[in-house]
Amino acid sequence: MLNPNLFPFLLGLAAFLFTVGAAGVLIRRNPIVVFMCIELMLNAANVALVAYGRFLNSEEGQIFAFMVIVVAAAEVVVGLALITQIFRLGRELDVDDLSEMKE
């Protein structure tokens, strides 16, 4: 049995990771880094889910974490495909530069 006192630290870790990820998404301009930051946010959520599952003595947290991993993997596939296509078009890899959909 895990020490219940650890629980706040785990949640704190998850919050920290999530904040780092969110800040990265907002600040960075390279799409690959933005993706990595999104992965960071998703995994922060995973940490929280697993921690809750552990402390509430339930498997659902872990099952849900697996779901998130699968979704994250699918998202990475789509995202990397997009990035590859943008690269092939000879465009600079900069999310601020990709604003044709504005108008």
């Binding site: 600040i27 601020d96 504005k102």
Partner: protein, 649 residues
Amino acid sequence: MNVGTASTLVVLVLLFPLIGSALNGFLGPVLGRRFVNIVGTVSIFAAFVTACFVLASVIGAPAGHASITIRLWQWINLGGGTNLSVGMDFTLDALSALMLMVITGVGFLIHVYSVGYMEHDPGIARFFSYMNFFIFSMLTLVLAADLVILIVGWALVALSSYLLIGFWHDRPSAVIAARKAFITQVIGDIALVIAAFLIVLNTHTLSLPNIFARTQVFPAGGLLITGICALLAIGAFAKSAQFPLHTWLPDAMEGPTPVSALIHAATMVTAGVYLIARFHVLFNLAPVAEGMVACVGMGTAVMAGIIALSQIDIKRVIAYSTMSQIGLMIYAVGIGAYSAGMFHFTIHAVFKALLFMAAGNVIHALHDEQDIRLMGGLHARMRWTHLAFGAGSLALGGFLLFSGWFSKEDLLGFGTVSGPGMFPWVLYIVGAGVNVLTGLYAFRLYFTVFQGEPQTARVFAVKEAGKAMLIPVVILGVLAVVVAWPLEFPLPNTIHVFSDFLAPVFAGPQSQLFHTPDLGLAAIGLTIGSVTSLIGIGLATRLWYEHKPDAQVALAQFPRWIPLLSYNKFYFDEIYDHALVRPMKAVARTARRVVEPDVMDGWVGGVGDLLKGFSIDLRSIQTGLIRDYASLFTVFAVILVVVWVFIAK
């Protein structure tokens, strides 16, 4: 008659024309003329057979049980504390059975006639669809035992009339005439609806039998009941083309002739008479309103009779004679002689439909010529039509022993004793004048069209109408002579089959204006009526037979304003044009010039500009930078969490 039989009969008689209308309307254009002709006529014949069963069961019912009201289903329940409900309620009694017989019987003959008359018209499916729908609407109106259903039927006949007057919608005059008829009728509809509201407010029920059973809530002769009856009468005047809402009827002759025969002579225009007869229980409580109805009826009868004397369009002459005869019926129901009014309605439906259809034969044979000055001498070339038209004219003129004589003298006979003081005698003398006028205009038309020398070469090429158009005319021609013989004789203690049949409907308290004349008065009335009719017919013979030149000279002796007023229809169209139509148009123009651009566009455009400005401001947050969107998203997500965790809990 039990409820089941009654329900079956009501459903059948209403469904046959409705199905006919739907089949013709939806399938007619695809399946062709033969199909349309068969469906159009057979559906009305089936309704006629059903109506015969209704009549038989009303006659066969034991005394006191001849009236039955059935509820097919409840339509609307208004619930709450009102306790009001609108039911699909229908009444079968002597009055509705009579109306059913006339509408479907005469209607069937006119439908058969239409097959011939509309032979070359490409819109035949639409025509029969409308005609069948009219029959359905009219049957709904006369069967209704619920105020709402009655008003629905009342409005539906106006709609069918509108559709059929404007049937030839590529003629601007027909479209304008249709519009005029509809608008005038709507004025009457409004009066009727207000009357209905007043009735419901006071009796707390929509069912007609219940309304008639609760008349004690109205103080007899009071302002309320007088107002209600006056409003009902205005509704009736609009529908029945009575002064001052009469101007639509002559224009309605723009429709095909079978339409004029069916709607604007035999059935719809007499709905006003039916309405007053149906609400006689209320009218009996309001002698002032009854007096007004009688005076308006008689006034219209005189006015229309004078106008009919100088019109030159064959259908308009008959239209004005219809207006005049309905004036007499309205007069009859006004003085409380309900069965006399309904009797004249029945006989009039026969001979007026006949006159219209015979006139239709003439118009058809002359290739749509309606000017009687260009006819003349048709008797040798259209023998059957001529005979039928002659029989119809004699009936209309009230010649001895023709059907019109029975009904008109019967009707005028009651006038001798109705009402206080000089009232009955003044109206009776006017009625005798109408009798003279009727003979005059009926035979002016007959002589000008059928006798004398042909006025144009076209007349020589005329051929008699085909079988489909001739047979209904001949049947009605025979009926116009004999139909009244077994039904009624205008003297007390003689034949009164018709009024005995209707007696249960009009039993109960009688109108204060109504007294049955004794034998002496009735005989005097009958003599005056017969003599005045003969005077009218005789004068017409003297004036117009063979177009005698000295007669024309005699006519010229009249003061000039009389023929002028007559020919110009008392200038009613011009008066309405200047008093109503033009001011309305001026108001509309002003509204278009001032109110529309400044006021309406002002605030409509203002709202638009406001929204536009707001969205221009809002657009500035759409930067195209993912970072901005993500920031907003994050900020609001945080706000949401904060709200949820710290406030909502």
